[in-house]
């Protein structure tokens, strides 16, 4: 397996994202730039210049619209194929997270808790046919702490928010209020990642663990312990595998024991919860991991500005075929 290294960005990568078909790769970084690449050969198509550090991006299901949340307190809508900015909306503070709802009719934006402003989740209506594409819909009440990420739950009925105090808060979109709080992590929760069809979700935390939950019952199914902060997770759509990436950040390197293997991207088995192996490619903490929807390629972005696209071998898919249950054939 030969990874494709994309060395355009000079500052830390904040998010890597594939579109629905998996042929386009979007990379957001702290150098105010979002770049667009072909997945197969790593060829760059274009770039989108934002006014501030880009914290979060999302792309619509038809791969026509890109939305960005940046530190210049703006959420923007771009045309993917030409790089034109179509619409933007202003906030008082930095926008930290942005996501399309399922069906691309709404957009949620998380604003930061700085300069005396409370962290909030704003929901906008997205109308692709109008000139004014973003229209304010409603705002959820503030959890009184910083929100690192927010994501839509199944059928857009709930919104999940990962918070700085280690909690995962679940809001109802109809009543627009907090309905549940999960308090299993004792440090900042960095990422919420969904399995296919959003049946389960996984939370990553700075306390070195990632936890897998059932979405309907919110029961804790599995805990994966890596012993170091986890920044990102990628759940394979094809295999019962999960990829965890992270590592100690640069400002706390002198206070902890550091070797090169802590920046490994680790493979875990979802059912058995054991570590299967790992890949070394980054020389800094891994900030983002994303699988293509067909499960054959994943991309990782790190603190050093490197993006690696890994096309998985056939041996990866044949690894645990003996564990797959094949029902007896009825004659």
């Amino acid at each position: 397996m030969r990874p494709i290294s994309l060395r355009l960005h000079e500052r830390p990568i904040t998010q890597v994202l594939f579109n629905r078909e998996g042929d386009l790769l979007f990379v957001a970084a702290k150098d105010k730039l979002v770049s667009l690449w072909y997945t197969t050969n790593g060829e760059r198509i274009g770039s989108y210049q934002c006014g501030g550090v880009v914290y979060s991006i999302d792309v619509s299901q038809d791969s026509k619209y890109l939305i960005t949340a940046s530190a210049d307190a703006k959420a923007r809508v771009w045309d993917v194929s030409s790089g034109r900015q179509l619409d933007s909306t202003d906030f008082e503070v930095s926008a930290r997270s942005i996501e399309f709802s399922q069906g691309d009719k709404q957009i949620l934006v998380v604003t930061d808790q700085v300069m005396g402003c409370q962290a909030k989740i704003h929901v906008f209506d997205f109308d692709k046919d109008e000139v004014r594409k973003l229209n304010k819909s409603y705002t959820l009440p503030s959890p009184q702490c910083k929100i690192t990420q927010a994501t839509w739950g199944p059928l857009n009925k709930t919104i999940f928010a990962s918070c700085e105090d280690g909690a995962v808060r679940i809001y109802c979109t109809e009543k627009r209020e907090l309905i549940k709080t999960i308090l299993d992590h004792n440090k900042l929760v960095t990422r919420i990642e969904w399995t296919k069809h959003r049946i389960m979700f996984m939370t990553c935390s700075k306390d070195g663990t990632a936890k897998l939950y059932d979405t309907k019952t919110l029961k804790l199914l599995r805990t994966f312990d890596t012993g170091r902060p986890i920044n990102a997770a990628g759940i394979s759509p094809l295999k019962p595998h999960v990829i965890l990436g992270g590592g100690q950040s640069a400002e706390s390197v002198t206070t902890t024991k550091v070797d090169a293997s802590q920046f490994k991207v680790r493979f875990f088995h979802i059912v058995y919860g054991e570590e299967l192996g790992g890949l070394i490619g980054h020389i800094g903490p891994v900030h983002s991991i994303c699988f293509t929807p067909d499960g054959k390629t994943f991309a990782t972005g790190g603190e050093e500005g490197l993006v690696q696209v890994n096309h998985l071998d056939e041996s990866y898919f044949e690894f645990d075929d003996d564990l797959v249950y094949n029902p007896p054939v009825q004659h």
Binding site: E43, A260, G281
Partner: protein, 233 residues
């Protein structure tokens, strides 16, 4: 989505016969035998349309491959939990990435190049020393240079017990002014067999070392070397 499905059809065997003339002008029959089979490829129409996109933004009028590089071959070795622990006990461990191969054959050396650079620079600094080495010590002389002390002092060993400070003043004074002669004595008052001679100038000490090392004095042969600084520990 682009995917490949090989048809169940049996591949068709084909043969081509060609008559070619070789260098000598003779006619040679070349037979090519090969198999031909069909592959059905599913293509996504939207993906194919997106492959014809123009470059935009910073990528205008560029190939788009300026920042793309293929990394080193990586081996994603997946194992079950129990097997991982057994491997760690027996197999060689690399110092760089802690995997089971030798450090010199580490495939991840390039990826960790920046990490290992500070260590290399530290090692290179050690052999480059600006320390002064006496001329007679530069050509592989076994004696050690005076360490840290500016005073050129010589330790004389294998000294006769009959030697007195006055005698050493006379002997070592022919190379330059001697500032101090010290002969440690035992409890009975006899000499311990060695002495320290301190010159005013380093040149005199070097001359004395060259001339008197191996010099026969009384009934013994003197052995001279530069005196080492006393350790504080």
């Amino acid at each position: 989505m682009t995917s490949t499905n090989i048809d169940n059809r049996v591949p068709i065997e084909k043969t081509i016969e060609v008559i070619v003339k070789n260098d000598k002008g003779e006619e040679v029959k070349v037979i090519k035998r090969y198999q031909e089979y069909q592959i059905t490829v599913k293509r996504n129409r939207k993906v194919d349309e997106r492959k014809k996109w123009k470059k935009f933004g910073e990528c205008d009028n560029k190939t788009g491959l300026e920042n793309t590089a293929y990394g080193d071959e990586q081996f994603l070795v997946l194992t079950r939990g129990a097997e991982v622990k057994e491997e760690e006990k027996d197999v060689v461990k690399c110092r760089i990435c802690k995997k089971n191969h030798f450090t010199t054959k580490c495939p991840y050396k390039d990826a960790l190049e920046l990490t290992t650079q500070p260590q290399k620079s530290e090692k290179e600094e050690k052999p480059i020393s600006n320390k002064y080495i006496a001329p007679n010590l530069r050509g592989g002389y076994t004696g050690s240079a005076p360490s840290g002390s500016d005073v050129p002092s010589i330790m004389v060993s294998n000294l006769s017990q009959n030697a007195t400070e006055k005698d050493l003043y006379e002997l070592f004074g022919q190379f330059g002014p001697v500032s101090r002669v010290s002969i440690p004595k035992s409890m009975e008052g006899s000499s311990k067999g060695f002495a320290y001679v301190t010159y005013n100038h380093l040149d005199s000490a070097e001359k004395a070392l060259k001339q008197l090392n191996g010099h026969r004095y009384d009934y013994l042969v003197l052995s001279l070397e530069f005196a080492k600084k006393k350790s504080l520990n």
